[in-house]
């Protein structure tokens, strides 16, 4: 009697097999119905071809939601049929009830009737990634791997915020914690916080991490700039030295001049007949845009033609620092005007002709 009534109700139940899917699914996107809806094909050959062309099925959010609602309604009906409480009806109870109501002698478990939650039946990855008008939801959709590349993007943002800063030193940490810390402890702390930054979505902890970073000082602030000196007439002047290879130069820059340039008592045009050397001398003044402003009085000894020009250039740049505004000092440093050239003549080694040249190699 009870079995009969249950069987009658079963006809209205909506259930799905585990492996096969009924062929009348309609994926409801208005624009794309012409491409995605399954056609009811006449011949088996056409049916096979269509299945291949369509690829893996895609289901919209609304479709999945509808399936979930129907599943819940079905679950309540099933609970009522089995005279059990619909509120406390678990998946095990569902499986038990279905195997009772639809006894199956099939050997393959996947072929037997099954009633499962749609999330377990429809795989999650095949969600449609674009809206009604066809525009994808994610801004990196066209890369193919949207989640991975969006992760890279976020990590890059974290990297940018950390650039130009360094981890705080052991002394600074001791100051902030007012405790003694050993080198080992400090190393462990730095290791831990580096791992935190390296983790995905470390950007979320940005504030915490930035609290332990200190800004890197601009290198040029370490440069010592001599203050300007004034002679009897009130004209500003500055002196500086420079060295390159085996020559040393000493330069005095006088303000409010006419661009005169004296080296060892001679004019620069006579002392350096080659254009390249004169260009080297003028480069610092040209870079600072103060070409006609200064009178330069200099002396140089030792080295060759090129070395003397390089030594003078370094001396002029150093002397010029006192006349420059704040920001330009860093520009000069980055232009390479303030770096002394470390190249000197390499020594000759025994067993060789020169520093690098070897004696003639004889095979026998």
């Amino acid at each position: 009697n009870m079995a009969a009534s249950r069987a009658a109700v079963v006809g209205s139940l909506f259930w799905k097999c585990g492996s096969c899917s009924t062929g009348t699914f309609l994926i409801c996107t208005n624009v794309n119905t012409q491409l995605l809806s399954r056609q009811i094909c006449a011949t088996p050959a056409m049916r096979r071809k269509n299945l291949a062309a369509a690829g893996p099925q895609k289901f919209t959010e609304e479709f999945i939601k509808k399936q979930v609602e129907e599943f819940n309604i079905g679950k309540r009906h099933l609970a009522n049929m089995m005279d059990e409480d619909p509120q406390t009806f678990t998946q095990e109870d569902i499986d038990r009830s279905i195997s009772y109501l639809f006894p199956s002698g099939l050997f393959d478990k996947r072929a037997r009737p099954v009633m499962k939650h749609p999330d377990q039946v429809f795989p999650r990855q095949t969600a449609v990634q674009w809206g009604e008008d066809g525009r994808p939801f994610h801004y990196l959709f066209y890369t193919g791997k949207q989640s991975y590349y969006s992760l890279m993007h976020v990590s890059m943002a974290v990297l940018h915020s950390l650039a130009g800063s360094r981890w705080l030193l052991k002394e600074e940490l001791e100051e902030s914690l007012v405790e003694n810390i050993s080198d080992h402890d400090f190393a462990r702390f730095i290791q831990l916080i580096e791992r935190l930054v390296a983790l995905p979505y470390g950007a979320a902890e940005e504030e915490f991490v930035l609290g332990y970073r200190r800004q890197l000082e601009v290198q040029s602030s370490k440069q010592e700039i001599q203050p300007l000196q004034y002679d009897q007439k009130g004209v500003a002047y500055s002196t500086a030295d420079g060295r390159r290879k085996m020559s040393t130069a000493s330069v005095t820059l006088k303000d409010s001049g006419s661009g005169k340039f004296t080296i060892n008592g001679m004019d620069q045009l006579h002392y350096f007949p080659v254009l390249q050397d004169r260009e080297q001398l003028l480069f610092p003044l040209h870079f600072a845009r103060m070409l006609g402003r200064f009178d330069v009085d200099s002396s140089v000894t030792g080295g060759g033609r090129s070395a003397q020009a390089g030594a003078l250039r370094l001396a002029i740049s150093r002397a010029l620092l006192s006349f420059l505004p704040e920001g330009q000092v860093e520009d000069m440093r980055q232009a390479g005007l303030l770096t002394p050239d470390p190249r000197v003549k390499e020594r000759k080694k025994p067993g060789q002709e020169g520093a690098r040249k070897k004696f003639t190699w004889k095979k026998r």
Binding site: N32, G55, K58, Y139, L140, Y142, H153, H160
Partner: protein, 272 residues
């Protein structure tokens, strides 16, 4: 005299491309040209007539979005857009766009750049106005973060990563059936990391997708629909381009919303 020359060149460059603007605005870029012709107008939340009217309205005036106010030659110069590569790296087809070379460095003619950039921005604005999908492509790692952030802020799409072969040409298998391809591809640098032309230039040309591209003096401008001769290496220049594209797209989208609201108000007040 200079103004007359500019307007003549403007007209000469402009008219052959209007049909392209109409075709691209009228539907999604499907896999085949045949499908594109038979595709319906975008089924947005308004009827076909309204869309056509808006389209006609936008195409009636030469500078519908008033993009000539956004930038001028001085801005381009300050952003160092005129600096090209060395004379040895010069591409033969870029010679018409170069002013000359100074100390072995090629100088790009900024007057031509201004014209080309106006055309390109106008076209981008029209595509954004019609609700088209715009894809920003650049393979310069220095600026990939900037380009991606800019695309996110506009509401458009970006691809500054390794380009897998079939992304445009094999889209239905790579992404799934029914995917909508971009309606416009904007190249902020046409070269990839090994100084060869980016694969997307050729692929977009194969798929009939119009392209806008910033071409430097070592790039090939032939396959790009709207080339913009300019520097693609300096951060200042790249930031300028990103700012300009973002402003155009936002302007176009705002204008669209404004016109739709007006239409909505007009149609609701109609029967009265």
């Amino acid at each position: 005299m200079a103004a007359g020359f500019v307007t003549k060149a403007f007209r000469g460059l402009r008219w052959p491309r209007l049909p392209a603007a109409l075709v691209s605005c009228s539907g999604h870029a499907y896999g085949t040209a045949a499908a594109a012709e038979t595709a319906a107008l975008p089924t947005l939340h308004e009827s076909t007539d309204d869309t056509e009217n808006l389209l006609r309205l936008s195409l009636n005036q030469p500078d519908f979005f008033r993009l000539s106010e956004i930038f001028n030659l001085k801005d381009l110069f300050n952003a160092r857009v005129h600096l090209g590569h060395k004379k040895g790296c010069r591409h033969r087809l870029m010679e018409p766009y170069l002013f000359g070379s100074r100390l072995d460095v090629d100088i790009i003619d900024l007057e031509q750049t201004v014209e080309h950039l106006r055309l390109a921005l106008n076209f981008t604005a029209h595509v954004a106005f019609c609700g088209g999908v715009i894809l920003f492509v650049s393979r310069r790692r220095q600026f990939s973060h900037l380009v991606e952030s800019m695309a996110k802020e506009c509401g458009e799409y970006a691809h500054t990563r390794y380009w897998q072969g079939g992304l445009l040409t094999n889209a239905h298998i790579q992404y799934g059936t029914g995917v909508r391809l971009p309606d416009l591809v904007v190249f902020l640098s046409t070269l990839n990391n090994v100084f060869q032309q980016h694969v997307a230039v050729r692929d977009a040309a194969k798929m009939n997708i119009p392209t806008v591209g910033v071409v430097d003096s070592n790039c090939n401008p032939s396959l790009i629909t709207y080339p913009v001769p300019g520097n693609d290496d300096t951060p200042a220049a790249m930031e300028l381009y990103c700012r300009l594209f973002k402003m155009t797209i936002n302007r176009a989208k705002d204008k669209r919303k404004q016109l739709e609201l007006l239409r909505g108000l007009g149609s609701s007040a109609g029967p009265l």
